[in-house]
Amino acid sequence: MAGNSLKKYNRIYVALLILFIVSVLGPEIADIFGMEGLSRMALILPTAFGIAIVKAYMVAAHFMHLKTEKIYAPYILLVSLALMVVFFFGVKIDIMASEGHNWEKPYKEPTESSASHHGDHSESHDDDH
């Protein structure tokens, strides 16, 4: 029993590794061949994002045991994903819009002169990593 499941997990691990390599290769190939526009999207979307979804499903189903759980466990997970979408679109209209009727929210790039010390702080952090 234990040996069997270990084998299964190893197989999934190898599958995840292969998928990971594919998801890295896809965008790399798009860059190497200098693809632009639709063909670039056609290559990158499935290889990067499509495979990410497959990998997330495999991790959730096997390593998080959702396949062997009672059916309400995956439902709870799906509900929380749905709520994330609700939250995103509820907030999007306020936070991410930069203009509307009679108002606008200009974004100011922090510059040397106008940036507060907070801005500098986060900038230097980015450089470090």
Binding site: S80, L83, V86, G90, D94, G100, H118, H121
Partner: protein, 576 residues
Amino acid sequence: MAEVATADVSHDDHHHEHEQTFWSKYVFSTDHKIIGFQYLFTGIAMAIIGGYFAYVFRMQLAFPGSSVPFFGIVSPSAYNSLVTNHGTIMIFWVAMPVLIAAMGNFLIPLMIGCDDMVFPRVNRLSYQIFLLSAIVLIASFFVPGGGFGGAWTAYPPLSALAKYNATPFGAPMWLIAVALEIVAFLLGGINFITTAMNARAKGMRMYDIPIVVWMIVIASMLFMASVGPLVAGAVMLLFDQTLGTTFFDASAGGDPVLWQHLFWFFGHPEVYVVLLPAMGIVAEVMCTFARKKLFGYKLILYATVGLGILSFFVWAHHQFISGVDPRAAYLFTTTTLLISIPVAIMLFAYIATLYGGSIQFTTAMLFALSFLAEFLIGGVTGIWLGSSGTDIYLHDTYFVLAHFHYTFFPIAIIGTFTAIYYWYPKMFGRMMNETWGKIHFWGTIIAFNGIFLPLFFLGAAGQHRRIYNYQNFPDLAGDNMQDLRVFATISLVIMLLFQIPFVINFIVSLKRGKKAGKNPWKANTLEWVAPSPPPHGNFPDGMPEVYRGPYEFAHPDREDDYWPQNEPGNQKPANK
């Protein structure tokens, strides 16, 4: 799958538990009942602190500038801190631990007929983290600068920068305390859901589960689904306060409204997280004391699920005047008005439960009935606040304050008293004194209305919240308005004094109360099968089996007017 607990997994342990020391029995216990009591008594202790805060700032509002007995002169920053922490304590450290954690821990294993929670150690960890969070919060009152004073909603930019809120230590400690408290309830919620789903007694189908267990489980699910944004927001706010990030700082490209979304996406389901257990408690008590089957068990259950789903679509009604997109106001007004439908269904089903019953006015029943009446006032006044038009006028006035106290007081205080008066015999094996209970009831309810009815008038007259001294505002300092404030404050003092009979009754009954026996109220659910108080493992006479639904009162096939869930009968009445 092997570690999923079944109803009688730890039966062999029963012989080891007698030599436990005080520490292992009451402090580091993994017994769900002891953990429930820990939550209950911590919650009551925090309620005393929160009530004391309310007393101090109400005295300041009624008699501004004078020295408050047992406190002294209230400074403006102390006033802010008192108001903020009154709200925080009453919601996070009183309503949540008592209604969800204490009642969930005590009731769920007993009511579904199993011997303990499925994760007893996680359960203990949950309480320990909760206790730590309470200590952090209390400690934050004594650090330099004092406790956080930016309201329990902690809106930035006020909460984000110490130069605005002047509490460089209090504000981060407040946030850490809230985050820890949330961790505690997530651990507890996992336990409640898993226990109710996996460890039910043999024969207990989904629709045989007592409604209060359903309510606590659904509330735990709402909590788990809603709390993510708040935790994320709390970490971001903590970074803003301590590390100098600018998530919510508009001067550097951040957005303070983002916090309001993060907070209220959690904050509004949170209202229902505490409402549902109270509704469940009231349903149990009303069925037992009306000797009637719960009207529309499935209807109530589905309405609850609908309420839970809708509660995720209403959060921005707290932000109508915060500068959110006005088009969103249409949407959120509509959903807010829609959410009154499931609540109304539940209240009507409860009233229909009473119809034709043979009602016994015990103290628990009086509290349950007053819950319906008071919560109705709270719910109906919410209609005006949920409509974006009227909310523009009423927002941030005492009308809002009176509205949510008419919802939260029935939930947190009346719901708690209902539960304590009803389950006290099961918790401690003795009855509470009914006469003193009724004195406590009338003193609490009348004084409660004396506090908050005047605040509706004050709010409609334009009295803004969060003002330290109304004498500084000539429009709000008139004699009539000040008289109402004094009336509300005196009512509060009376209500607090009427809690003394309760405390004395509680303590005296522990030793002197009449022995309760197994089933003093002649109720049906499984907790009344266990001895009072239940020993470790709950059911020493063998685990109960369930043959019928939880509310088979006055069944025509039976002479007794109650029919416990575990008694075999020749037929199984359909409760589907």
